[in-house]
């Protein structure tokens, strides 16, 4: 297969470019925001540990956190939603742009909420076990989660591309629901890996590794090794 044939086309190009934008946001994030801030910077954690909630709140910049979580979702997770976006573009008729916007709105909203929860969980883990302990625990847990039936059932539900209405209001409503369901199934499947990338050292490298894993299992592997366990 030649490279031009490997390159994605149409809506896939937009997905790739947007995901690259997400990675640029993560790369360009200043140290003050810092990737650890996505799960609670040491300063924040120290403040929380000391019960200084106001100090912790002052240390956190909600805007930066939101930008970081949005960047993380777009960089790591948007490529996993490419089939749904392609489906809306192809089958959405004249209302397809509206459908794409509706899908992205709900999909991004659930992911940002999930990342907020995971960040808090990562912070609590770090508080409880220390940085090394939290990283080890999250890594091992993610490793195990990857082989659970729940993970694979959620992964397969991420493939859903339901019928799309022709009329714009109905299409927008359907795409909102699709964004929500795709996002929640994706979270159900990927949350453990995402948590691990948040608490592992060198978060950017961890995110790259996590993305490679999740993209591979979404597009490259057709059947999990632990699949027979799902129906026992």
């Amino acid at each position: 297969m030649s490279w031009p044939e490997r390159l994605p086309r149409g809506s896939d190009n937009a997905v790739v470019m947007t995901a690259l934008g997400g990675w640029l946001v993560l790369l360009a994030t200043p140290r003050a925001l810092g990737l650890p801030a996505l799960c609670g910077s040491p300063d924040v954690l120290a403040a929380v540990a000391a019960g200084a909630w106001r100090l912790a709140a002052a240390t956190i910049s909600p805007g930066r956190l939101l930008a970081g979580w949005a960047g993380m979702a777009l960089a790591m997770m948007l490529p996993l939603a490419a089939p749904q976006l392609r489906h809306i573009v192809r089958r959405g008729g004249p209302g397809a742009p509206l459908g794409v916007a509706a899908f992205l709105t709900s999909w991004l909203a659930v992911w940002i909420m999930a990342l907020a929860v995971l960040a808090a969980l990562g912070g609590l883990l770090t508080l409880a076990l220390g940085a090394v302990g939290a990283a080890a625990a999250a890594f091992l847990f993610a490793l195990g989660w990857q082989h659970t039936p729940t993970k694979y059932k959620a992964l397969r539900r991420c493939h859903a591309c339901p019928p799309l209405p022709w009329e714009r209001p109905a299409l927008a409503a359907t795409c909102l629901r699709l964004g929500f369901s795709t996002g929640t199934h994706c979270i159900a499947g990927c949350w453990a890996v995402m948590l691990a990338t948040m608490v592992l050292p060198w978060p950017l490298l961890a995110m790259l590794g996590g993305s490679a894993l999740l993209w591979t299992e979404r597009y490259w592997r057709r059947m999990p090794l632990g699949w027979p366990l799902m129906y026992r």
Partner: protein
């Protein structure tokens, strides 16, 4: 000298080909499913679900299952090459079993051609539990359509018609609403089903459903290979690929690297007669006389006797020619432009005899030229396609005749007017499972309704809506037994 695959219905009663096939099957069925030369393994390569395992049954490791099982390609341009490799390896394994039992080394699978009315029945050898010597008949399986013992499973001419599919000019197609081509739409590794190509969607799926019926082996991916008829049916499908290629010089296999050397997500790999892994690509499946395949068909005569490609399809062949490359570059629908003209969603629930849906053509009245352009008279390089999307259900044995703009006073039981094809539900159960390979997206069928677009009266384009009638092939189809999630009308321009 290649092995010769012969016409099943031209064989004498209990011809040695059938007798040795029956005996080899019994021998293969005696092996555990963990043995790649067993009947169970061979069926699992096509499809497998862990719920089919018998209590305590010895299965191969998860790694081996992941590598070798569940590979069947449907709704993909790999449908034909994958099944060719699969059948080739199977044939060699059966031949080895035949030789071991004392049979001829020239043994080859016969093909079940259904082109003649007399051939649209199950041969008696497949309907009796005993061989002439009183031993068990491997060709017999109870898991077929009710009443199959008479040989009549209700295969009718409309379901096996080749006139629409053998004139399809392109091998591959797209999944965006355009024609999926003769061989299926461009995909990577795709353990479907999805958007069925012309050959797969019509005669292939129809025969599966007619033989399997409700709950029979042939009606599901996971068990189809357990019926000895499956292999003979697929030989005929494989043979029709040869017929398509030989009947028109414009009919060419794809030349895209994606097809020739793909897929990328996972390579096709089966075990051969020596139990060694054999990895193959579509490129290696183009010549049946190649060493690893080593067969020819007794007859690849054109059943349409040279019927020409319909005029409206010619631009789709010509426009695909790439200067400097031989023949037609029948690869994908990349050069095609598809435009949805209207859709009905939610679609329609199907049951009993006749179910009607109406699709509004969403072209503004003020743009009458656009509406008229639905007609061939003003859109010479276009074709109008009916898309039946997200078809879900539980019974892979069901089938529906699909009509467009069938007049209210026409009796679909007797009238073939406005019939655009058959929607068979082979594989619908796994396609409808939200935790299945494709998230429960269901089946998708695409029918060319261009001929009706050019018609007068109630032809498409004469009104701002079309009606689509689904008529159950079987009288006893229960209500709400299947659902078409969306019905859309698409214009594809070459």
């Amino acid at each position: 000298m290649p092995h010769v695959r012969k016409n099943l219905w031209k064989l004498p009663t209990w011809d040695p080909i059938l007798l040795w096939y029956a005996k080899a099957i019994v021998a293969m069925q005696a092996k555990p499913r963990s043995d790649s030369a067993s009947w169970g393994w061979q069926a699992a390569v096509h499809g497998w679900h862990p719920s089919l395992a018998k209590p305590g049954e010895l299965l191969p490791s998860s790694a081996l299952q992941a590598k070798f099982w569940n590979q069947c390609q449907h709704g993909s341009w790999y449908f034909l090459p994958w099944h060719r490799g699969y059948l080739g390896a199977f044939e060699q394994i059966v031949r080895a079993a035949v030789v071991k039992l004392g049979g001829p080394a020239t043994w080859a699978l016969p093909y079940w051609d259904v082109n003649k009315p007399a051939w649209r029945k199950l041969r008696p050898e497949f309907c009796t539990a005993k061989l002439p010597d009183g031993s068990r008949n491997g060709l017999f399986a109870m898991e077929r359509r009710t009443g199959f013992q008479t040989g009549d499973v209700g295969i009718e001419a409309f379901g096996v018609a080749l006139s629409g599919l053998l004139v399809e000019p392109e091998f591959g197609g797209g999944t965006a609403g355009g024609a999926p081509g003769f061989g299926g739409p461009r995909t990577d590794f795709f353990h479907g089903p999805g958007v069925a190509g012309a050959l797969e969607g019509q005669i292939h799926n129809y025969i599966h459903g007619r033989v399997g019926g409700s709950g029979g082996f042939m009606s599901s991916f996971e068990q189809a290979g357990l019926d000895p008829l499956f292999w003979l049916h697929h030989c005929n499908i494989d043979r029709l690929w040869e017929v398509w290629r030989s009947r028109d010089p414009k009919h060419k296999d794809p030349v895209a690297g994606a097809w020739l050397t793909g897929p990328t997500a996972q390579k096709f790999v089966v075990r051969d007669a020596a139990a060694q892994p054999w990895t193959f690509t579509a490129k290696e499946m183009r010549d049946t006389k190649a060493a690893k395949l080593d067969y020819v068909y007794e007859d690849v005569t054109d059943p349409l006797a040279g019927a020409a490609t319909p005029a409206h399809l010619l631009p789709f062949a010509v426009s695909a020619v790439v200067p400097g490359k031989p023949g037609i570059r029948a690869v994908t629908a990349r050069k095609r432009v598809t435009k949805a003209l209207g859709a009905l969603s939610p679609g329609v629930s199907l049951g009993g005899r006749r179910n009607t849906a109406t699709v509004a053509i969403a072209v503004p009245r003020s743009r009458a030229a656009g509406l008229r352009s639905l007609s061939l008279e003003t859109a010479a390089e276009s074709r109008i396609l009916l898309n039946l999307e997200n078809i879900t259900g539980v019974d892979g044995g069901q089938a529906y005749k699909v009509y467009v703009n069938l007049p209210d006073d026409d009796d679909p039981a007797t009238s073939e007017r406005n019939l655009v094809g058959v929607m068979s539900l082979f594989g619908v159960a796994s396609a409808s499972d939200p935790e299945g390979n494709h998230g429960g997206n269901g089946l998708t069928y695409v029918f060319d309704i261009t001929a009706l677009a050019g018609a007068r009266g109630k032809g498409v384009g004469a009104s701002d809506e079309i009606t689509v009638d689904f008529v159950s092939v079987d009288d006893d189809t229960p209500e709400d037994s299947a659902r078409v999630g969306r019905i859309s009308v698409v214009r594809e321009t070459a």
